[in-house]
Assembly symmetry: C2
Homo-oligomer: 409 residues x 2
């Protein structure tokens, strides 16, 4: 169907018919920018901006220490959990919010190894997000386990595999795992499954409960729009909640303010908290999640697929001979992004950013464009591809300033 979108007016028509169009008003989006990088850092919502200001001016400045009770800072992890729960098919009571994705992964891999009946292999993919692999190496070393990387985890399942650790959506290609199918295979093989939902939560419907998964972690600053370095989350299936994290701290204690000398893990998911959470960043995340209130995630998925299909169709039509599609062509196999390979991808992305089209470059040669149905419009995708086609065709990317590497790429 989207092959028929050949003029900007066609894209405008799609926007007029978009049931999610009104959600865009919740976000602050700079003029002159087409933002296709919400999968790296979501934009701020009006609500989050106001709430952070209020948290500083009223809760911190006026309330001071009292705000732990009066402003409910102590309940922030639980409040944020209740907003994330419907996005991932989970109960709020099974989600802990705080720390970074890396730290949460550390806790859950440790718990998984403890629950794996003596099995010692963490099975993952060489294309998994590197920080996940680094964390796994660290915990494997501590616990005498082994990290095994294979292209096809389902095929590599054997009776030594303790836990399958996979990121549902590949950060480079956007390839999406079938969560229910892979979880089923792992469970059949007697292995546990830990899902990294960094590019899933908020991007499309996720059903951890339905898939009967064991553990999950996810990121607050991508599709959840919680702000730069927003706290992350973790989820533990109820059957594993007797596990104890090796990372212990007073917020995970059964009685934090009794100041006992020995660790007594709290009942339930709270035992996976540890230190004091960064309240300002947690507040931004809590407020940002209001943008998802009442949103039908099936509609998000449908629009996401259409936006990606449109991008692929327009690239095919305008510059398909110059770049290689790195994402699956079939929507069902993709997350909420489209990636292309181009040898000088870094310079092309810099040239795009200079023209106001913000995506990501991912080494060695990936141009990555995230679509985020709450605020990405069909015209955004249409215009972005027009600009990319120009840059590629006239080779305007090949200028010295676009080859200069910044600290963060």
């Amino acid at each position: 169907m989207l092959d028929t979108v050949t003029r900007r007016a066609d894209a405008e028509a799609l926007d007029r018919a978009d049931p999610l169009a009104a959600r865009r008003a919740a976000f602050i989006l700079p003029e002159g920018v087409i933002y296709l990088d919400g999968n790296s850092l979501g934009p701020v919502t009006h609500k989050a901006k106001a709430r952070v200001a209020e948290a500083v001016a009223t809760e911190w400045a006026d309330g001071l220490i009292r705000s732990w009770n009066t402003a409910g800072w102590i309940d922030l992890p639980a409040r944020v959990a209740s907003r994330i729960a419907p996005l991932i098919g989970a109960r709020p009571a099974d989600i802990a919010v705080g720390d970074s994705t890396s730290v949460n992964l550390f806790k859950l891999l440790s718990a998984a190894l403890d629950r794996a009946g003596g099995r010692k292999v963490i099975l993952s993919e060489p294309g998994n997000f590197p920080t996940d692999l680094y964390v796994a190496e660290g915990i494997a070393e501590l616990k005498g386990a082994e990290l095994r990387l294979v292209e096809d985890v389902a095929a590599a399942l054997d009776d030594r595999v303790a836990v399958v650790m996979v990121t549902q959506v590949d950060y480079r290609t956007g390839r999406k795992h079938d969560m229910a199918a892979l979880t089923g295979k792992a469970l059949e093989a007697g292995a546990l499954v830990l899902w990294d939902l960094a590019h899933s939560a908020g991007a499309f419907p996720v059903d951890l409960t339905g898939a009967d998964a064991d553990f999950a972690i996810g990121c607050g600053y991508k599709y959840l729009n919680g702000g730069p370095g927003a706290p992350a989350f973790l989820w533990v299936a109820p059957r594993h909640q007797e596990a104890v994290s090796p990372l212990r701290g007073w917020f995970g204690h059964a009685a934090p303010f009794a100041f006992e000398n020995h660790y007594r893990p709290a009942e339930g998911i709270r035992r996976f908290l540890n230190g004091t959470a960064p309240v300002l960043s947690m507040t931004a995340l809590e407020a940002a999640l209001e943008a998802y209130e009442g949103v039908d995630m099936a509609a998000v998925r449908e629009k996401s697929a259409a936006l990606c299909d449109l991008m692929i169709a327009r690239v095919d039509a305008t510059c398909g001979d110059l770049v290689t599609l790195a994402s699956p062509r079939e929507a069902a196999l993709r997350g909420s992004q489209v990636s292309f390979r181009f040898p000088d991808g870094y310079a092309v992305m810099q040239a795009l950013i200079a023209r106001g089209v913000i995506g990501d470059f991912r080494a060695p040669d990936i141009l990555r464009f995230g679509v985020t149905p709450l605020y990405t419009r069909y015209v955004d995708v249409f215009d972005a591809v027009e600009i990319m086609a120009e840059i590629l065709t006239d080779r305007s990317w090949d200028q010295p300033q676009f080859h200069k590497r910044a600290a963060v790429t």
Copy 2:
């Protein structure tokens, strides 16, 4: 000398002569409140309030993902480190900022055990802050080490002690360890020393380098005023920086944006970072630290001692028969707080808070008052004690509403 302060006007005179008096203007302090809890949560500075708003409105909203480079988010840990360094007698290059105190302690205890030549005992005090003990229990379990708690760590040093883990200032009594002396004894016994500076950094001069300490951690939200749950810091003596944290993540990798599959620790202190830091909370901390710019920490110490001496003298004079001093009477042995024991301390603290005097209750019976020379005035201390004496004398604390426990005490 402070025994001579018997009238409010005497305290006012001390404030007029206070060389730090002008610093108070940097802080936003609510009307009608005497805040003696900056050792739990420091107040917001005008600068921090403005910077957080700017980080949201300009860096996040307008800059979006570009701000990692253009707003220098990537350098936030190093920038904050450079502001903390002069407060703790350390080089910025040896300080990593991020995560919570608990998580940082976990990293450093692991590193210490790795560097201890096979020794396996973590030596600490039963009165250490509980979360430190919980973290130590967790890492001890993972690494086959043992946590040993003794009242007198110096006397308990033997050739099995890998690392002495002590909080310099006792969170209940305010008793202050002599850092140089205890570090020296530990080093003589072949043990490493890890200092928790939660109640030290920003409270008085600290000299990690001069003491020849091995490791330190510290808190961003107490005397550093970084905001609720502000990121914490860690310090590693250069001789130990080849240690590798078991908590690994891309921000500690030698080349984070090369997305390599295997962990290669960054050179130097950056290897002790792991996940993405919460930028809004880091920004608040960075801005808050400007309040220390150009401050003579010796002057801070001198005023702190005088404020505490005044509090003790006024309590002695007005209600000394009703409470028991829990802090050392001698200033040299104290941190920057004064604590008193009272059986119904919880209710007394609630009654004080209801009258606008904010301190902390610490189980089982401690009334804790932190003094923070950048904004605490002599009249604040004078007035606070007058109110406490009233409450204790007329027993107005003994009302039902003051006995009702809140979630956070």
